[in-house]
Each structure stands twice: as C-alpha cells, then as structure tokens.
Symmetry: C2
Subunit: 571 residues, 2 copies
C-alpha cells in the first residue's frame, strides 16, 4: 500500500521534503498543508521585493523557468497534493491522524498519515508594547504583509518609518525602504549594536556608520516604550531616548518557533521553544519529523542546542527529511550558524561564535582582527577586507570568524571556507595553511584569511600584545596620560600630533632601529600603524631592545577611523 | 652565539621565511641571496603588468604602503642582509658553507650557515625546437623579461603573437596581450584542451569558446615544430597544423624545479625533479630546508608526491620554514591543488583531482555537472554558475571540484569552501549540507554547491543515469538512430525539431504524466531540459512508469550550447 506522507507547512522545508520524497517514492500519497494561500516562496527575498529590486511578488514563488509554484504546479509537476487555506488543529499520535480546518468554510476534517512532517516555521516577535496593533505597524513574516508594505510605500503614503530590531531582517528592510523609496528611516535596536546575535561590536559599528552615511538614523541601546497613533494609523514611536515621529513601524525583532501544534501533541520541546529532533530530523515520535524554523538543532561548535531560523538550513534539512521519510537514512549534524548580509555597499559574513558567545560557552576565547586587501594589493580595484578570528587560547581551536568588506562575494568566500572547517574543530594552523585559491584578481598570495590566523597565533604566542581598536578609542585615547607611538611617516603623524600633542610620539618604522632610545622605557606604549602589521613588527623590534610595556593597536589607524569617522579629525 | 641563517632565493618563499625567522629570533644573522637584482616581487602579477592593469614594475615589488622591497628595505625594516646578483654555486654540507659568485665581478666567496633554506624556484620549460633561441622568443619567468615584453608591445612592434602553452600563465598572457594592446594572439596547446593539468574538458571548452569570442585564436592538439625567423626576429611558428605568422612567441609551457644546487649537494630529489621535504619542510639534510617551486609536496587526496608551483603555497611554506628555522615546530601537510583563473569575463576555480586524474589514481571515479544561479534566481544580476564534482562511487568520497562563471569571487567561493574539506576525505553528504552562507544577494537557499553534491549522489544512487554533455554532442547527436526527449516547452523544442526531425521528441514536463504512453519503450531516450533538473525529474517519473532505458543529459541545453555555440542553430 502506498505510504501516506502528510506535511504541515508549505514555505521552504515542507515543499523540499515533499519533492525529495516524491522522487524517491513514486507511489507515496503526499499531502502538503498550509494555512496560507501562497506557498513555496523565497521568504528571504521579501526585503528585495519591498525595495523594488524584485518587481513582482510572483518572482518569489516562481521557478528559474518562470513556472509559478502554486498548488497546481505541485500537483502537475511534483505529484504532491496541496491544501492551502487549511489549518492543522491537532495531531492524534496514536491514531496517526491530523485534524484540519478549512479556513474559508470553517469545515473540519481529518487526514491520516504513516509519517508526518512538521515545517510550521516561526512567527515574528512583537514586543507587547502599547499600540503594537495599530494600523501602520507591520511585520514581514509572509508575502501578504510584504505586498501590503510595498503598496503603501509605493503610493507615497510613507514619508518616514521606524524599523524595530537590528537583525538581518531589520537591516535589509531598512535599506529596502530608504535606498530606493527615500523613506526617512530610523533603525531602533535594544542592544548596544546591530546584529547582536551574529557578530562582535567592531564590524557592526562599521555597518552602523555606513547606514548613517546612507541617511539612515541608527539608534542602538534604545528601547521601544509605546507605538503612538490611533485607528487612522501610526504617528510615532516613543522610546526611552525620546519620540520618533513616523508613518509606519516595521518589526524585525526576531522570530519565535511555531510550536503550538507540536506542544499540544506532547512532542519534546527544547529550551528555545523549538521542537527537539535527532540527527535524522526525527522528533520524539518516530513517525513525526520536523525541521526548519520550528526546530532546534545542534550547535556544532559547542554541542549544545541552538535556534537558527535560516532558509538555507530549512532547505537542507528538508532534503534530509525527504530522504528519510522515503525510507532512506541521511543525517543533519547541526550547524555553526553561517550568516551573510549585504547592507548598502558593505557586506558582512560570519560563522561560529562571537568572542562573547565563546566566553559564555566556557572557552578561554581570544580574538584577532586583521585588515588586508581583498585581492592582490597591486591589482586594480582592490579594497580592504577585514577579518576577525576567534579561537581558544589553550587548545588554539578556531571558534568563529567574522568578515567585512565591499566586495560581497569575496567577503563571503573567506567565511564559507573557514565555516566548512569549524565542525571539524580544527586549530589555527589549519587556517594559516588553508588552501584557498590564488590569482591576483582574487586574492593575495598569502590570503587575508591565512594572515588573520597568523596574526591570532602571534597574539596567543605572546609575540603580539594587542589592544582592541574599540578599547583604544574608548579608553586609551581619552586618557591624557597614555602614550601613542605612531610608526607611520611623519607626514601622517603630524595631523595627529596637532590634536593629541606630545603624547602622540612618532618614529617611522625604518628609523626605529636607530632611534628607539628616544622612547621612554618606564611607560606603556601603544604602537600604531595603518593596519596593525608594521606596528606588530615594531613591537617585535622594541621587545628585542628590551622594551616590555607595549601594546599593538589591532587594525591600526584604518580600523579606528572606520569605527569612529571623527578619529584624527578633532580632539 | 647568533644563529646563522642563509636563504637562497629571493622571490616569494625566501623573503617570507627570512622575515618570519627575524620576528621570532631577533638575534639571528639572516642573509638572503639571489642571482637577480630584483627580489620579493609578485611574480604572478606579471601578466597584469604586461596588460597594463598594473602601470609600473615597481608596483609588483612594493608594499601596500608603497615602500619598495629592495635590499635596502630588507636591511632597514626587516634587518635581513640581502645579496643580489649573487649565485650560489655549491653547498658543502659537512662544513656547512655555501660557495657564492658575484655575478658582476666574477669574484667567489664562501658563507657559512647553521641552517640553510633553498627557495631556488623553477624555470620555464622551453621545448628544444629549432629557433627557440631567436630574438622575439620570450618567457615570463622574471621581471626583466616582463619589462622587455611590455616595452616591445608598447612601442607598437608587435602586431601578432603566438603563446605556446594553455596553462595559467599562457592564458593570462594571452589575455594581457590581446585585451588591452590588441595584439592578434594565437594560443597553441599540445593537449586537446587548455588547462590540462587543472580541469576536465567541459569548462575548458567554455573558456576556449570565450577566448575565441574575444578574438583569440585557440589551437589545441597542436604541436610546435619550429620557430621561424632570423637574427632580426621571429616571423612565425611552424606547427603540425600549419604555419602561424607572428612577431613574438611567448612560452608558457610549464616550469621545471631548479634542483641543480640541491642535486649537486646530494639532497634527495623526487619523481618530478623537486627537492624532497618532510612535513616540517626539511630536506634529507636536517640543517637544510626547502620550499616553493623547487620542492615536491604531498597531494592530500592521493597521499602521493605532487609538484605544484604556486605562489600561494610558496608563501605559506615560507612562513612554516621561518618558524621552524627559528626553533619552532610547524607543519605543512601538503595541498590539494586549489587553483583559480580569470580569463576575460569568465572565471574558473578548481581543487583536487579531475575525473581522469582520479581514475589514474585508482579511484572508481564518477562526476556530476550542475548549473544553477550564482545568487538567488530572483535577485537582479544573477548569472549561471557551473559546478562539477568528482567523487568515488564506492566510498562516496569527494575527490575534486571545478567551477566556472562570470562572477569570479562567487566562483572561487564555492571551490574554496569545498577545498577546505578535501584533506579531511569527506563524503558527498558533507557537501550536501555544507553550511555556506545564504542571503539572496549571494546565493540560493539551497546553494549551487549543495545542489551539485545532491546531483552526484543521485547519479551514484542510480536515480539519475547521466550522459556527459560532451558525449551527447560528440556521439548521440550525430547518430540519427538516437531519440532525444525534450521536456521543455513546445516553443523551445520546435527550432530543434526543425533541425533534427522526428528523432527530437517533445513532451513538456507538465504533460508527461498524461502523455508518457506516446513514448517508445524499446528505445533509449536521451532526456533534455535546460539545465538537467527537469530532465532528471522526468526521468524519475518515466522510470516509475516502467521505462528502463533513459539517459539524463547533464547540464542540459544550456551546457551543450556553451560547449558548442552552434548547437541547435544548424545541423
């Protein structure tokens, strides 16, 4: 008898599992159920639809060959029966049935399964502040909301907007509204940085500055207290830093797994509210599988559960489920949380743990920041690429990587290559010699990712005694008693000496071997060059000459200026 | 007493080893010796200097901060003594001395060492054909030759040129001369494809076609018999396919390791003529280290020795040597041969073994070819990215990857991520779930590299019965008895039916479930769509309906047309 496969949820995981199962089992009866009328769309494309980069909503649920992925498409091409506008109310695990309700007619029915797949996704988190339900307060959880937002913006009704939440969706929506449509946009984030889950504070500060350069107002460490307005719409957002007038509020403050159905059925639920699954993506009921935004998976760095609502994972998990429900045996071993994002003309990518996350997980974590050209420095059109590596001091195990630059694919390339190794728990030597391809249009002979590993090894080995650029700006620079040794040229140092006076010392690197005796030996010296490389070499030289109290400013002038565009322009 | 470190060879490996050793050992006496007057230059940048992308030769031996890396620079900044114009004649391993000759004065001298490093590099291979020493016959082994070539081209003396050798240097020089300078260039390659060491024949055919689109004449399977001309210069090249008139001949026919000094000293030399080194980059003499283009290293796929003269490896090996000669203990475990190249508007990247190399190494090798968009297919500006994976059928171990596309960094990103895993001998499941970053500006949710692994797994599992696009073009298409089933739209199939007649069947994929009975069951059917995806699905459907004799044309119409631009335009 044909196996009865019932799949609840039709955005990413569900359709993928359905199609894979169909290809392996030509006889199975496969039914895909979704509350919505639209299914199988590229939800991550919503910001690009709102921005106008993607003209029509259909583009997000069409194949490469412009076939609309609607119920008829699934019926004809995939031989999968689709029931849209249908809500799953209850699972009877003993009888192996699901009770359904037709959302148009209210009629209830029952469907039986041999194997059930839950791909119920996640819902946007909206903090329960007063006014959260006013018209003009939006989320971007599905296509209908996206179409609604875009039509309002396109009709010229929205002069200004507040985006609440500086995660990926928040940032992408911020760009979407301000870049093309010219909506005056304010980004409000509760934490002291954007992308607080994904990255440490340096690169996010660079993004924040870049957003400001693009006319976006960024308010971090800001809490939303109330949405202002009435039944005619939103008039503003009240925060603990004051009122922001606006015509629209968009919540991008993270999502929560849709676990109600699983919970009611008594399936195991984890600490983040996600359904618990094993490496075969099977729940605590061996006839029920789950994946995508409604499950927790294993963090491959810490071994602990993690919640990563990402469309890429949903698709890969969906295929594994499709194989397993058709009688196969594939594993999904977890994830390290590889992430990438384009924000105007900058791109960032990251994988693994941030420094703070690594410390919280019990590692003796240390980080190194490197700046190098994204291609051969003699090749035209090269630009700076910044890489941060996080490792454990004792075992030298690599725990995370972050990168930022203007050439997005090149930024992502470095992170993807290191991300591939993170599940193997490699140490820094593996990154020193990581065999990324080399030709001048693509990389330096010693690639920036190799250089970043070498820089962090030097820190761990005590050859480089670093100070974080953010600490340099926040603590060293304001303290008149600290001495900075600038080993760049006199021409570069003079403007700094005009601002910081006598405590800004300057001996160019080439003169250091004969002039080091001019330097005080009893005071801490903060050594600075343009990127941190020559200051490191100078530190090595000075240490050989008996200096003991040296700090190398990681990333040098370049990174400090990117973190604070006013650095070196005024006191 | 200060350790005496002598390093022979000053291009890539030597300077890197010298500088690293200096930073670890402030007291060592470090001497760097080179025959040439120019050192520490980016040799791989030579084609970009010749093309004019890089204006001045100095740019190739300057730092990011425009300091010239000349002997004075090494003396002042690195405290490394440099002896240029100095040839190393002999090594006395017992006395630990090297006999030197000053190439200006002819004067000989001796230098003693505690530890010696050989970074003697490689020399271009010039086949011993008649006329190889005529004026106008060039190599691009060093800066002087590059400057010479560029000045001749710039002065307008060179109307046409022949480049001998379709490896990386040959291809880069071909583009350099034809793109900016408009030199009529013919590329001559002995093998039946360009890049014969690096890639299988599909993607190289695409490159060859792209070169032809850019006015380069490509002659593969062509042997150079003689260089024509006299003491006034070259007038042409005689090949087994006829005479090619030209004003300049450039040899890019590979390099051979400079092993004479090591050989004379009795050091172990390997099967490729490279110096044998262990994982610490130490030769058969424990006081002598070697690296870069003059050594053989371990192929991490096969475990066998390999010869990979690449600047990136030289730099990474140089750092390992620098650490070890200063008393440290680092390893260089070998390489998988990651490679990338830009040719006009196409880029290719590759790592590991080609199908033929894998078979020769004893693997039961099988390959899969996939085509997918390089970013979300709904994101503006996306383009096709082609990936080929090679794996062992029995163990499913991944043995190699090749990629081609127009967005170079994106092409390289996919290969670098897989290359990182090759030394770990992972199987295809690791690539199916490879956690590359996803956002619509960078990738599809199921990235092309994941899709490529899934496609190859389907082949190995017998779900997809592929025919290589090159075999389809060469064997199937010319054979009037073979039937092609085109599952694209009627509109796309009609032009093909006009050319190929009744043997070009057409049932669009959506009609196949109700029309499959129109197809003959007793004949082999070659199923075709645009990329190989819908033809695979159709094959699955037909097999479920009892068809047994099916072949899926890998890469579909798209790849076949890229391999043969005339495919589908005439009989």
């Amino acid at each position: 008898m044909a196996k009865k496969i019932v799949i609840i949820g039709g955005v990413a995981l569900g359709p993928k599992a359905a199609c894979r199962a169909r290809r392996l089992d030509p006889d199975a009866e496969i039914t895909l159920i979704d509350k919505d009328t639209l299914i199988s769309y590229g939800g991550c494309g919503i910001p690009y639809f709102v921005s106008g980069d993607i003209a029509n909503p259909e583009d997000l649920y069409s194949t490469v060959f412009h076939a609309k992925r609607d119920p008829e498409f699934f019926d004809v091409y995939k031989r999968v029966k689709v029931m849209t506008g249908t809500e799953a109310l209850d699972i009877d695990r003993k009888a192996k049935t699901v009770r359904l309700r037709d959302l148009n007619t209210g009629e209830e029915s029952e469907i039986s399964y041999d194997v059930l797949v839950l791909g119920t996704g996640a819902s946007p988190f909206v903090p329960p502040v007063e006014g959260f339900d006013l018209p003009g307060v939006k989320c971007v959880a599905n296509m209908h909301q996206a179409i609604d937002i875009k039509s309002q913006i396109a009709s010229g009704e929205v002069g200004s907007a507040v985006v609440v939440g500086g995660g990926a969706i928040g940032l992408e929506m911020t760009e979407a509204m301000s870049a093309l449509w010219g909506v005056e946009t304010t980004l409000v984030e509760m934490c002291d940085q954007v992308l607080p889950q994904a990255m440490g504070p340096e690169f996010t500060r660079m993004i924040e500055n870049h957003l400001e350069e693009n006319e976006v107002k960024v308010m971090t460490s800001t809490r939303v207290l109330r949405i202002l307005g009435d039944e005619d719409g939103v008039t503003g957002v009240l925060t603990d830093k004051g009122e922001i007038p606006c015509d629209m509020v968009i919540f991008g403050a993270g999502v929560r797994p849709n676990n109600a159905l699983a919970k009611k059925a008594g399936l195991a639920i984890g600490q983040f509210g996600g359904i618990v699954v094993d490496a075969r993506m099977c729940t605590s009921d061996r006839n029920i599988y789950a994946g995508g935004d409604c499950v927790e998976i294993r963090n491959q760095i810490t071994g602990a559960p993690t919640y990563l609502p990402l469309g890429s994972l949903a698709n890969r998990e969906g295929r594994v489920i499709g194989t397993n429900i058709a009688g196969g045996n594939e594993r999904f071993d977890g994830a390290t949380g590889t992430f990438c994002l384009k924000a105007f003309d900058l791109s960032v990518a990251t994988s693994g743990l941030t420094l703070e996350q690594a410390k919280a997980a019990g590692f003796d974590a240390v980080e190194g920041l490197s700046a190098q050209a994204d291609r051969a420095h003699f090749y035209p059109g090269h630009d700076w690429l910044f890489i941060k590596l996080i490792a454990d001091r004792t075992t030298r195990r690599v725990l995370g990587i972050e990168a930022l630059g203007s050439a997005g694919d090149a930024v992502k390339a470095r992170v993807d290559a290191v991300a591939a190794l993170l599940p193997f728990h490699v140490d820094l030597d593996a990154i020193s010699n990581l065999e990324v391809g080399y030709a001048p249009p693509f990389a330096s002979a010693m690639d920036v990712v190799n250089a970043a590993a070498n820089a962090l090894k030097n820190i761990i080995d005590g050859l480089s005694n670093p100070v974080e650029p953010r600490d340099f700006l926040a603590e060293v620079l304001p303290d008149e008693s600290r001495l900075i040794l600038d080993v760049r040229s006199a021409k570069q140092a003079v403007p700094m000496q005009e601002i910081y006076g006598k405590r800004w010392l300057n001996i160019p690197q080439d003169e250091l071997p004969v002039r080091y005796d001019e330097l005080p030996r009893d005071k801490e010296l903060y050594v600075l060059c343009n990127t941190g490389l020559r200051s490191y070499e100078s530190q090595v030289l000075l240490r050989a000459k008996g200096f003991t109290n040296l700090k190398n400013i990681q990333g040098g002038f370049l990174v400090a200026r990117k973190l604070d565009p006013s650095f070196g322009t005024k006191k």
